[in-house]
């Protein structure tokens, strides 16, 4: 049974989880200088956008409330050069092309995404609590 607020919160759980996966991939590949495609790993970023949830009932005159989805996951083209002369992928001058992944930034992103995830869980729990309370009527 479609419940507007529920599907909105659920869409956010899904979007934030994707965001967390991308962050985890960035962190795991922070030092990957050689990918299958050749060249260093490129940092991925998630762009979120609003979306109308499916099956939402649209009452006349009521604006459509919107959930969220991952609009795009894009690879950032920038890399950084680091002086590491002994590295197997070092160029003749001793520089290595490293992924432009800043672990501190990624950790901050991870905390934000986790907090957002938890906030949506709280929203669902609040709704569940209200529904359960309503079911007590007449007991």
């Amino acid at each position: 049974m479609p419940h507007g607020a529920l599907s909105i919160s659920a869409s956010a759980l899904s979007a934030q989880r994707t965001r967390l996966n991308v962050i985890a991939e960035n962190l795991a590949n922070a030092n990957t200088t050689r990918t299958e495609a050749g060249g260093p790993y490129h940092r991925r970023v998630v762009r979120l956008e609003s979306e109308a949830p499916p099956f939402a009932s649209l009452l006349p005159g009521e604006p459509q409330l919107r959930g969220v989805r991952v609009g795009a996951v894009t690879a950032v083209p920038e890399t950084r050069r680091q002086y590491m002369p002994g590295h197997p992928d070092a160029d003749p001058e001793g520089y290595v092309e490293m992924p432009n992944v800043n672990p501190v930034l990624e950790m901050a992103e991870m905390m934000a995404a986790t907090r957002a995830y938890e906030a949506n869980v709280t929203a669902i729990q609040a709704l569940k609590g209200m529904a359960q309370k309503a079911l007590e009527l007449g007991r």
């Binding site: 049974m1 479609p2 419940h3 507007g4 607020a5 099956f55 009932s57 209200m130 529904a131 309503a134 079911l135 009527l137 007449g138």
Partner: protein, 99 residues
């Protein structure tokens, strides 16, 4: 929820009007109250069924309003049954008196 309302009015025979001993003004006859209540109960039951259906099909997502409507139907029915039972008791007592 409840079974469809059987024609309960058939069970209730109107009590023959007895002149009030003190000459008090004509009050509302209890059987009229009962008949009015039966109408209320039917309305409330319909509203409850409609609310439940609206929620089940997703037309409504207000679970609280749905439960309120159903509880109102339940209480209206309980009141009607109580009035009916008191009326029956009174009738039976009057029957005994006529012997």
């Amino acid at each position: 929820m409840a079974d469809p309302i059987a024609p309960i009015a058939a069970d209730v025979r109107p009590v023959a009007p007895v002149a009030p001993p003190s000459g008090a003004p004509d009050g509302v006859r209890f059987v009229d109250t009962l008949k009015g209540l039966i109408g209320e109960v039917e309305q409330a039951q319909k509203a409850a069924e409609e609310a439940a259906r609206a929620y089940a099909t997703g037309r409504s997502t207000d679970v609280t309003a749905t439960m309120i409507t159903m509880e109102r139907a339940s209480i209206t029915l309980a009141l009607m049954l109580q009035v009916r039972s008191r009326l029956l008791e009174a009738y039976q007592e009057i029957q005994r008196m006529q012997v």
